[in-house]
Amino acid sequence: MSETYIKRSRDTAARMLGDEMIIMSVKDSRVFTLNPTASIIWGAADGITTLREIVARDLVPEFEIDTEAAYQDALELVGQLAQEGILMVTDHPIPAEQP
């Protein structure tokens, strides 16, 4: 089974605003807001930690949810963010780079 690695696009700016993450795309100035669950995933998207680890480590204990169901929801979310061009999703670790 291949793993999923996620990393925030370098062409974004982001900050927590209350319990939401506000993200701005540098390329086209589009603005996104993420709910608290998605914000946790965004915050953990370091390119090194697998999505499965993020869900198990940060989401399941916080929200007391079923691990597999949460993972499937997370997969759907990161797919959407990848389509928007603000998150990289791969099957291998993404090394750190300068912004």
């Binding site: 370098r10 062409d11 974004t12 700016a13 982001a14 900050r15 927590m16 605003l17 209350g18 939401e20 506000i22 701005m24 540098v26 100035s29 603005v31 996104f32 807001t33 300068q98 912004p99």
Partner: protein, 365 residues
């Protein structure tokens, strides 16, 4: 319809978060614009380490939008290191510059660092006019070349056109130039008093007749009928409105670490050299006072028909002597838009008539 950014700003105000900070990294400049409101001598700028620490504090405080400006920010040798640090901390960075030091290499670096927008001041499409305002021969050609370098990198560029007596007829051509360069265009008809309080710069303001013309230029204001419509009714909701975001979700930091509500509102509110940014933001008596002010608290403006639609700048009012008073420049704009005099104008007319009735009152003959 409320945009996501407007909603975010409203939420930031509600939560007391400084969503946007304007940081001047230097007041030194390689131009000497006739209307500039700053002193250009270096009085002890923040070091890179101080700025890096400030950026960390601001990120923790919730700042997302960071405007880096000056003076001319590229005069700092460490500007790109500052931008790099800001981007590492996930700020949205906007750079305001005259751009005359930007060549291909700098443009590429600005793109690589992920700067959102670069704003460049262009005063005229005519070199003689632009260069006379900046007092630097060749500056228009260099700024335009830089804009082309920036655009070739795919960067978003805004051309800012400050209107003054010298260039009042040139804004349509500058707007056209912006379109040709693929830049957005913004116009500002307000000259700001010098930060030391000297108001002589205001003599550069365009005339009332010229302002009227700008306010009725469809290419600038869009729907003229809507833009110049008489003000709506003054309701309780209108009187409860905030003057602007200064001190509420935004503030300014000078090159010396002084915090003000806004770059146009030089009310000293604390120094990051002696306090943490968040402590100044949350507990400064000056910012706290600014935050208490609603439209209903403005002695003159709360009685004005324009109170709900006026662009009144509390900083310009402060520089006139009272942060709760009117801003004459904005009174002029409200009057130019609608033809309806403001309460401040009427008050001044009455005072003038009382002081000199034979001049103010028409003759009965």
């Amino acid at each position: 319809m409320t945009t996501l950014l407007e909603a975010a700003n409203a939420k930031a105000i509600q939560l007391g978060i400084p969503l946007s900070v304007h940081l001047d990294v230097t007041w030194r400049c390689n131009e000497r614009c006739v209307h500039c409101y700053l002193d250009h001598d270096d009085a002890g700028e923040l070091t890179f380490d101080e700025i890096a620490d400030l950026l960390k504090q601001m990120a923790q405080a919730g700042v997302l939008f960071l405007i880096l400006s000056g003076g001319e920010p590229l005069l700092r040798k460490d500007l790109f290191a500052i931008i790099r640090r800001a981007r590492e901390l996930s700020f949205n960075v906007k750079l305001k510059t005259n751009a005359i030091l930007i060549k291909e290499q700098q443009a590429a670096l600005i793109r690589e660092l992920g700067v959102d927008t670069v704003q460049v001041s262009i005063y005229s499409h005519r070199a003689a006019v632009h260069d006379a305002i900046t007092k630097v021969p060749g500056s228009l050609a260099r700024s335009l070349a830089a804009i082309r370098f920036l655009r070739s990198q795919g960067l978003k560029v805004t051309i800012a056109n400050v209107l003054m007596a010298q260039n009042r007829f040139d804004y349509p051509a500058v707007k056209k130039l912006a379109e040709e360069l693929g830049a957005t265009f913004t116009i500002d008809p307000t000259i700001t008093p010098h930060i030391n309080g000297d108001r002589s710069l205001l003599s550069l303001n365009i005339s009332r007749a010229d302002l009227n013309q700008v306010m009725r230029d469809e290419s600038i204001v869009g729907d003229v009928g809507e833009f110049c419509a008489p003000p709506g009714p003054v309701t309780e909701d209108v009187l409860d409105e905030l003057p602007c975001s200064a001190g509420h979700s935004a503030c300014y930091v000078s090159p010396y670490g002084e915090v003000y509500p806004c770059v146009q509102f030089p009310l000293p509110s604390g120094s990051i050299r002696s306090q943490q940014f968040i402590d100044i933001w949350k507990h400064s008596p000056q910012l706290t006072e600014v935050r208490t002010i609603r439209a209903r608290d403005l002695p003159v403006c709360s009685t004005c028909a324009h109170v709900g639609s006026c662009s009144r700048c509390p900083g310009l009012a402060y520089m006139e002597g009272n942060m709760r008073g009117p801003s004459t420049a904005d009174c002029e704009k409200s009057h130019a838009r609608t033809g309806i005099p403001t309460a401040n104008m009427l008050r001044k007319q009455q005072a003038s008539a009382a002081a000199c009735p034979t001049l103010a009152a028409p003759s009965a003959e």
